[in-house]
Symmetry: none
Amino acid sequence: MAKILIVEDDNHIHSLLLEILTQEGYEVQGAYSGTEALLYINQNDYDLVLLDLMLPGKSGMEVLTEMHEKKAIPTIVLTAIDNKESTIELLRAGASDYLTKPFNTGELLVRIEVQLRQQEASYAKSTLVFKNVLLDLHQFEGFIGDHPLSLSKREFAILKCLMENPKRVYTKNNLYQQVWGDEFYGDENTINVHISKIRSKIAKLDPNNEYIQTVWGIGFKMVE
Amino acid sequence: MAKILIVEDDNHIHSLLLEILTQEGYEVQGAYSGTEALLYINQNDYDLVLLDLMLPGKSGMEVLTEMHEKKAIPTIVLTAIDNKESTIELLRAGASDYLTKPFNTGELLVRIEVQLRQQEASYAKSTLVFKNVLLDLHQFEGFIGDHPLSLSKREFAILKCLMENPKRVYTKNNLYQQVWGDEFYGDENTINVHISKIRSKIAKLDPNNEYIQTVWGIGFKMVE
DNA sequence: ACGGAAATTAAGGCTTTTTTAAGACTTTTT
DNA sequence: AAAAAGTCTTAAAAAAGCCTTAATTTCCGT
C-alpha cells in the first residue's frame, strides 16, 4: 500500500489526517515541521506528501521547493483560505494539487487516489493518442496518421508527459522532474527549445492542427 | 463490480480468461464470435470489452468499429502478431489499449484496472461557477458555456477571487493582497484596468449578462 | 451641475516565449 | 579508433504577450 507523509503542525488536524489515512489503509508517517519533513523525505521513499503551507520554522513553500530539488514526489498542498502564496506559485514550485482548509475529507481522499493512480496509470498504458499523433510507448515510436514522427529521446519524453494528461498544465519544473528526473536543473530555456522542435516536427506532418499550447507565465499543455 | 465481456474464439484462452477474471471478482460474460459479441453489447451494458482480433465471421476490427458506432466502451484488444500497422488502426478504431499474445496475466489485470479507473478519475476537478462563467482552477482555464474564455494570469486571479465569494465586496486593497501578495502596492487604477478587461472579455461571449458589479467608493463584487 | 470615483484607451516598458545558431556531447557507423 | 550523424544545451536576439502608467472620458451621488 502507498506510503504517505503528512506534514502538519496543528495537532488537531495532524491526528485527524493520521487517523483517516491509516483507516484507509495507507502507510502513514507524520511530521510536525518542515525540517522534520525534509529529514524523512531524504531518508525514505514516499508515494505522496500531504503538506500544510503554514509551518513553524521552514515554511511549506520552502519545503516544497527544497524537496523537489531532490525527489519528484506528488505533493498535495493544504492552504488556508487567506494565504498570500498564489495557487500558481504553488504549482510552479512543484505541487501536484492543492486543497483549501477546511477541506472535505472525502474530497481529500479522492485527490490522493488521483495522484497515486496518476503514476500507475502511466506505467501500464502502451500507447497514447492525441488528435493525429500517436505514441507507442513500447517501441518509443511516434506517428502522425500513418507517417512516422521521429522524435529524440527527450522530445518523446516531453510529449509523452503532456499527452498523459492532455488537460493538465505542466510547468517547466514539472516537466524537468518528469523528463530529466532529479539529477539536473538546467536552464528553463532548454525546455522551450525542445518544445519548439516538437512543434515544428509535428507541424511539418500536420500543419493544420495545433498541439502544444502555451499557458502564459505557467507552462504548457495540449490544445483542447 | 465491473462487468466485462470477453470475445475470444479459442476455447483454451477463452476459459482461461473466464477463470482469471471471475476469480478476480469481475462479472464476466463470454462470446465466441463477433456477431455474438455485438448481440450482447446491444443488449447489456459492459464496463469493458476484451477483444480478440482474430475471430471467425466478423473480424475483431469490424466488431470494434461497429461497437463504437453505438457505445463507447473501453476496449482492450488482444493481438496475435505484433503488427504495428494494425495497432495504429486499432487505436483509431476506438481501442483503449492492446496486448500481444501470449500475454502475462498480471499485466492483463493491471491494464484492465487502469481502463476501469480511467473513467472514475475524470471527476477530480475543482471549479468555480457563476452564471455562465466557469473557472477550472487546476487547469487555469475559463469557459463561458462551451467557449473558452482566455484570461491572463492576473485577470484569472482576480476573477477567481471574486467568484470564490460572489457576495462579498472586495476593496481594491483586498484584491491587491489576494492577487499580488503584499509585496506591491501600485496604482489603484491598475485594478480598474484589469476589471475593465475582464468585463469586456466576458461581454464578448455573453453580452446579455452582467458579472462584475461596482460598489461605489468601496470596490467590486459579483452581480447577484 | 459639481467633484470625486471609476472606466476606457493607448502606449511604453517589462517579462516570457520562440526561434536560430553554434558548440559540446553521445551514439552509431565505418 | 576515427569519422559521421544525431542530439542536447547554451546563448542571444527577435517576437509576443502582459502589466502598469498616464491621460481622457464617463459615471455617480449629492
